[in-house]
């Protein structure tokens, strides 16, 4: 009888109630608001499974097995990247390679937030950010790229993995709410109405095949720590572009991505235990994550405005904001904003180019941070 009541007794802990509420909220956000439902729904349910007192899903159960098999060794984010790579068409970027630099500029939020986290961590009474590794793990939320955030957080601050993942995916789904006010604050209406010519250039199949191989080799030689991330992304892309592995490409895009997303989501959710999640550090991470996205956007927009000082043909500075990874959400947001100002302005090709550049840049940023932070 006492066995049956032990679960009920466990409900006396207030943290159990709060975490069950958090789990239900994530499920609600996924179902009702459709915020990143593929990830937030499994995460929310994983959170429920982990916080039921004496749950057999954790404490040596299948979720613990999955954590060891796919999170602790960084396998799941890597497999996700193969799927993402197979989904990405680098065509718009290859047509207009200048967009690469917007991808670089819009990583500004990572480093701004990292420094901010370091400074906040120095305030007496603030715990949870004792050093550079934890600050870097928080800053990488600004990569606007879930798998990179998970990868870096697993290495540098596994105890902060759950809040970092929640913040990263939540803000990615909130890009349509976060980016427009920042862009409007930094641009004039005239700037937002700038038209951009579509590059009339067809990219050969050979270039599309060589690109992922060459990028892997160059990035790997410059930053060996980025090989796993960039290599898996580009491997997926090579499956897509080779033209001879259509079945594998489709599997990577669909079955592999879906399967790993289920396992990743429910496993990350299971790490959201009350003791680790209900801390002031979590609130701090949620706040810093928002700052990272805001400063990513600002970095991209301001870089575009800076470039325009030297150009005859001006770039619509909103394109700079697409340099954050959050693909393809950011490109869609910017195209919508452009059409709000001028219904016949189509900048989607440039926006997508900058957006996929952001995907590459965020991985390079992750690799560099892994290499430089000790």
């Amino acid at each position: 009888m006492s066995e049956l009541l032990s679960g009920v007794k466990g409900m006396a802990d207030w943290r159990v109630w709060v975490m069950l509420g958090v789990g239900l909220t994530l499920v609600w956000l996924a179902v009702k608001k459709e915020y990143e439902p593929n990830l937030l729904l499994p995460m929310g349910f994983g959170c429920l499974l982990a916080n039921i007192p004496l749950s057999s899903a954790v404490h040596g159960g299948f979720l613990d097995v999955l954590t060891r098999a796919g999170i602790s060794n960084e396998l799941f984010p890597i497999l996700i990247f193969i799927g993402v790579g197979a989904m990405i068409d680098f065509g718009p970027l290859l047509q207009d390679p200048e967009m690469l630099f917007f991808g670089a500029a819009a990583q500004f939020g990572i480093f701004f937030t990292m420094m901010l986290a370091l400074l906040v961590g120095r305030i007496p009474g603030v715990v949870g950010i004792p050093g550079l590794r934890e600050a870097a793990a928080i800053g990488i939320i600004g990569a606007a790229d879930g798998p990179t955030s998970i990868y870096v957080a697993t290495r540098f601050a596994p105890q902060l993995l759950a809040p970092i993942t929640v913040a990263a995916y939540s803000y990615m789904s909130l890009v349509p709410i976060i980016q427009p006010p920042v862009i409007r604050a930094l641009t004039t209406r005239e700037e937002r109405m700038i038209r951009m010519e579509n590059p009339e250039r067809e990219v050969s199949r050979a270039v599309k095949i060589i690109f992922p191989i060459a990028v892997t080799l160059i990035a790997g030689i410059v930053s060996p720590m980025s090989v796993a991330l960039i290599g898996s992304l580009m491997f997926g892309n090579l499956l897509r572009e080779s033209g001879v592995t259509e079945r594998l490409s489709k599997t990577a895009q669909n079955e592999l991505s879906s399967l790993v997303t289920i396992l990743l989501g429910i496993t990350i959710g299971s790490t959201m235990s009350g003791e680790q999640f209900l801390t002031p550090t979590t609130l701090l991470i949620i706040g810093l994550g928002l700052i990272a996205f805001v400063f990513d956007t600002a970095g991209g927009v301001l870089f575009a405005k800076f470039i325009n000082l030297f150009r005859k043909k001006k770039i619509n500075p909103m394109i700079g904001a697409c340099g954050i990874s959050a693909f393809p959400m950011s490109a869609r947001v910017i195209q919508k904003m452009a059409q709000q100002e001028d219904g016949s302005n189509f900048i989607i090709m440039h926006a997508v180019g900058a957006n996929v550049a952001g995907q590459v840049a965020s991985i390079i940023a992750g690799g560099l941070i892994l290499a430089l932070v000790r």
């Binding site: 970027l93 290859l94 390679p97 200048e98 690469l100 630099f101 991808g103 670089a104 500029a105 990583q107 500004f108 990572i110 480093f111 701004f112 990292m114 420094m115 370091l118 400074l119 120095r122 050093g131 550079l132 600050a135 870097a136 009339e200 250039r201 067809e202 990219v203 050969s204 050979a206 270039v207 060589i210 690109f211 060459a214 990028v215 160059i218 990035a219 410059v222 930053s223 550049a357 590459v360 840049a361 390079i364 940023a365 560099l368 941070i369 430089l372 932070v373």
Partner: protein, 44 residues
């Protein structure tokens, strides 16, 4: 400025600049590839 903040600043500045350098290399690479292996121009 304490040592950790200084290290953070160095890592941030070096990493941010290094991203531009790496993507600059990719830019050069794409330009060369497009020149060496040109595709057909679109009709529009």
């Amino acid at each position: 400025m304490d040592a950790v903040i200084r290290q953070g600043l160095v890592v941030s500045v070096v990493s941010y600049l290094a991203i531009f350098v790496v993507l600059g290399i990719f830019y050069g690479l794409i330009k060369v590839l497009l020149k060496v292996l040109p595709g057909k121009a679109t009709d529009e």
